[in-house]
């Protein structure tokens, strides 16, 4: 590799033979000529203008189509591409648990302790997969998600001293319903989904209370299976 220092010196000397300024005016002059003249075929870019014109027209066409389809009617009140379809449906909608949304929420809110696999962490956080706690009577898991659970519990033969916070208190009814429905149907669990109406009822019934103790929740809703 040539020493950049010496090559720099070289270029400096050569450019100083003529004055710096006149070299710049030659540069401007030459390019002004180029801009006025058509391209020289010998440059090897002779087909470029045609290709580029077609390419750019194609872009322009695509942009128009994309905007028409994805602009939500250019309404200042449309914030979501799915929104117009929802508005088109008339009447109050029946709640349907969305397991994909439930999974996303679970990963954000619950997976730090219970893990994405639902297996928990042995000795620290109880599993949800195959556990009798989330399945069966849906009020038990809704109450735990809404108010939290603190104390010693036994899950699948192992003891856990947990301190689960009231995660659901900060979520909407539909979000809690989606999380609970996901937990009740993922990893081989097979229990029915719950609706946002049910969550709202439970939330109203328990009020702004603190965490449940294991005894309290099991007295209200005993485990259906061991």
């Amino acid at each position: 590799m040539t020493d950049p220092h010496s090559s720099n010196n070289h270029s400096q000397r050569s450019s100083h033979e003529g004055s710096e300024g006149s070299a710049d005016s030659r540069l401007v002059e030459a390019h002004s000529q180029l801009a006025k003249n058509k391209e020289e075929p010998s440059e090897g870019f002779s087909s470029l203008p045609i290709i580029i014109v077609f390419l750019f027209c194609g872009f322009g066409f695509w942009a128009g189509v994309y905007l028409t389809r994805n602009a939500g009617g250019f309404s200042a009140n449309t914030f979501d591409l799915d929104a117009p379809r929802l508005v088109a449906d008339s009447g109050p909608k029946e709640f349907e648990a969305d397991l994909a949304k439930g999974q996303t929420l679970f990963l954000q809110q619950c997976a730090a302790c219970h893990q994405a696999t639902g297996l928990g962490v042995p000795g620290a956080f109880p599993p949800l997969a195959g556990s009798p706690w989330p399945v069966g009577n849906d009020e038990r898991i809704i109450k735990i998600v809404l108010a939290g659970l603190a104390g010693e519990i036994e899950v699948k033969g192992a003891k856990y001293v947990g301190n689960m916070p009231n995660i659901g208190a900060g979520l909407k009814d539909a979000q809690v319903a989606n999380i609970v429905s996901y937990v009740r149907s993922a990893w081989g669990n097979s229990a029915g989904t719950v609706s946002d109406v049910k969550v709202a009822e439970v939330r109203k019934a328990i009020g702004g209370r603190g965490q449940y103790s294991p005894k309290e929740i099991l007295d209200a809703h005993p485990l259906e299976t061991k």
Binding site: P4, N8, Q12, L27, S32, L34, I52, L81, A111
Partner: protein, 456 residues
């Protein structure tokens, strides 16, 4: 003494007339570059070990990262671009600056204002808009200082002796007019009379993209055009396309802001317009790459460029620009954007633009301008090599680490982010920048006796 005199080049009268302001800008930019590089290492170290210097509120991540970003963009890049724009425009337009104290005044005010603002940030007086974090009285002072420091290229352009114009001049004029406009509008709508809620995010995204792509990017593109034509001695290939490239670049780049807010609480048609603008950036990108690569590639030009210090840095800058532009285009589409939004991926994209592209071009330009400005040579060739290789390695490492980690993080919650490559990259950049600053300061201070300068 006589020997050293003979080894010195002469300084032309044009260079002489802008010598003082250009020196001031370059000197300030060098100091800010060092500050930003040291802060960059601290920021990277805090990402790896969050408790590092954590006891002192001055060195909490939020303040240090803000400090680093502002010092880099307003201190290093902007000061250096003041110098570059003034120098390139004066050379091309045969302009002699009569009252050089005006840009000097502007430069002094700019740097004092910036120092004041950054000290306030260090003390905890900062607001939440990236690159507008400094207290709100700083922004108008920056605009005024900019008017004094950076509007001279426009004067030079207006007074050019012939009607002929080179593409570099368009980009400089465009970039010079963009900065005050976006700065005034953004500070009015965000700091002085804030607009409502989500509208602020929109204004900010517009300001941010314009600052990076048009002020920094536009100025750097002008330098690429100039040094490629000048150092290779060739005319720009497919030059007739350059005008289309210029207008489409400035038209579409200024609209790309909303594409960074996909999924945010702004009307969906604005997001779609942002996506369209971002994808239409393909037009200027294709033209610019054809111009640059088409000029350099034929007749063994890449090898020749590699052996020229300026063009070697500019080559890395061209690669940085191309990659950054293509990634911005691809990852502005809704489907791909959803995968990497809020990850290290976007950090790496930004680094590509402001470092691999803009800063590398500035380095290359400095290697051309400083010898002609001072009439002396670079003191050490070894330091030039050290500068090039550590900065290139550092920027490649940072970008590759950021892109791969950002991509790996999507849709996963068990993803552990490793800041080690970033720390290593920041250290490499610090080494390279120290070498560069040492070399450049040696040059700026060694040359002192006025007898060494020939005036005609």
């Amino acid at each position: 003494m006589s020997q050293s005199y003979s080894s010195r080049g002469s300084v032309s009268r044009i260079d002489d007339s802008i010598s003082v302001p250009v020196r001031l800008f370059i000197f300030s930019s060098l100091i800010w570059l060092l500050v930003a590089s040291v802060l960059g290492v601290i920021v990277a170290a805090k990402l790896q070990v969050p408790s590092f210097m954590g006891e002192c509120p001055w060195f909490t991540y939020g303040r240090i990262e803000t400090l680093q970003r502002n010092a880099f963009i307003y201190g290093w890049a902007s000061n250096a671009l003041f110098a570059l724009n003034l120098w390139i425009m004066s050379s091309l337009a045969r302009f002699e600056l009569k009252s050089s104290w005006l840009p000097v005044l502007g430069g002094v005010v700019w740097n004092l204002t910036l120092s004041y603002g950054l000290i306030q940030v260090l003390l905890g007086q900062l607001n939440g808009f990236a690159l507008l974090e400094m207290p709100k009285e700083v922004a108008p002072a920056l605009v005024v200082a900019f008017m004094f420091a950076a509007l001279w290229p426009a004067v030079a352009f207006a007074r050019r002796p012939t009607g002929n114009v080179f593409v570099s001049q368009w980009y400089i004029i465009g970039a010079t007019f963009v900065f005050p406009v976006i700065m005034v509008i953004a500070q009015l709508m965000l700091l002085w009379c804030p607009t409502l809620g989500a509208m602020q995010a929109l204004v900010h995204s517009w300001f941010y993209q314009n600052l990076i792509l048009l002020w920094l990017g536009g100025s750097a593109l002008s330098a690429i055009y100039y040094f490629i034509a000048k150092e290779s001695g060739r005319t720009i290939s497919a030059y007739y396309l350059a005008a289309v490239g210029f207008w489409t670049y400035f038209l579409f780049a200024s609209w790309t802001g909303p594409a960074t807010l996909l999924g945010g609480p702004i009307p969906v048609w604005l997001q779609s317009v942002g996506v369209v603008a971002a994808l239409m950036m393909l037009v200027p990108t294709v033209i610019l790459v054809v111009n640059f690569v088409g000029t350099l590639a034929p007749r063994n030009g890449i090898v020749q460029s590699w052996n020229n210090t300026t063009l070697r840095f500019v080559l890395v800058g061209v690669v940085g620009f191309t990659l950054s532009a293509l990634l911005n285009i691809a990852f502005s589409t809704r489907s791909l954007n959803a995968l990497v939004h809020f990850t290290q991926f976007s950090q790496a994209q930004e680094h590509l633009a402001i470092y691999s592209f803009v800063s590398m071009v500035i380095f290359g330009a400095a290697y051309y301008i400083l010898p002609r400005l001072t009439g002396s040579f670079w003191p050490s060739a070894k330091l030039v090599h050290l500068h090039f290789w550590s900065c290139t390695a550092g920027t490649v490492l940072f970008v590759v680490a950021g892109l791969t980690q950002g991509w790996a993080a999507h849709g996963r919650t068990d993803f552990a982010f490793s800041a080690l490559p970033g720390l290593l990259a920041a250290a490499l950049l610090l080494v390279g920048h120290s070498a560069f600053v040492l070399n450049a300061l040696g040059m700026l201070t060694a040359e002192s006796a006025p007898s060494n300068r020939r005036s005609y």
